[in-house]
Symmetry: C2
Subunit: 148 residues, 2 copies
DNA sequence: CCTAACTATTAGGCTTCCTAAGTATGAACG
DNA sequence: CGTTCATACTTAGGAAGCCTAATAGTTAGG
């Protein structure tokens, strides 16, 4: 019985990785399920915190097209969690800024989500947590390369 | 300066883990973007391969409610990739079975996706791939606990 | 100036998810 | 048997999120 060729090992890892991706979506859906802010909305608000962000920047961060970001922003604006202002440097652009309510909503939602995940992580043993911890930067790297 | 309390370390890990989840969605969206079958549709078809599956089982696997699964199934049926039959053991139930075209579509889509991911994994060094590899079973465990 | 590039919004459409309500079958019990 | 309750699925209606194409306004470069 021959050793597996390197290429096959990569494909196998890819297969397992895809499963993990699928599961991530699942977990995230559960996390979003009964939250007042979706994961994406939380991301928008976070960008709107310090000095705000432009619509295009938010779209890029979310990984969606500009009109989709506009939609989310309008929704959050109607909810009173952020406001839109003309950018002083470039009148074509719009700066998106969190309101005090928005800031409070981020704090609350962030805390709740972290506690929820932490409770799950607490059921793991230390080796398992270390494995996750070691993999996270690699996830980040993969994501960056996909975004590029 | 005190060492961090264990609970804080967990919260920090949770925060990073959430980021990774968010990134996973991003990667998966890219993967789905120009594919003829979405990730979810591919999952449905895979369950329909050997002996088929019932609608409720498919819904559970996808992590959605039954009507949402029905919708996907109908779409795939219209595309000729699967068919529905009455379950011989229980006439209330419906068995979902892949057609030959469905089987071929799974093979093709699976191969394409694996190759796509493998190409990304190929840009990592061995330590990074090992880190991913070690984390995958833990992902699986987390997912199972969330599903339960 | 005038044209080309950029930023954001609007309009229209598709997919996917949900809840609620309806149909049909199965199972339990008197 | 027949009533009743539970189970399996479908249908209907609606919300959220994403997209492309078209539009309006602003900036920047010949």
């Amino acid at each position: 019985m021959n050793a597996e060729r390197p290429a096959d090992a990569l494909i196998d890892l890819a297969q397992e990785f895809r499963n993990a991706l699928r599961q991530s979506v699942f977990v995230l859906r559960r996390l979003d399920a009964h939250a007042e802010l979706s994961s994406a909305q939380l991301s928008v608000l976070k960008m709107a915190l310090d000095g705000g962000a432009r619509v295009g920047e938010i779209a890029r961060d979310l990984g969606v097209k500009v009109p989709s970001a506009t939609e989310q922003i309008i929704r959050l604006e109607r909810a009173g969690l952020l406001r839109r202002e003309a950018d002083p440097d470039d009148s074509r652009a719009v700066r998106v800024l969190a309101t005090a309510e928005g800031r409070a909503a981020v704090d609350l939602a962030d805390r709740r989500r972290n506690e929820h995940i932490a409770a799950i992580l607490a059921t793991l043993d230390q080796n398992e947590r270390d494995a996750i911890s070691a993999a996270l930067p690699v996830f980040h790297k993969i994501n960056s390369s996909v975004r590029a």
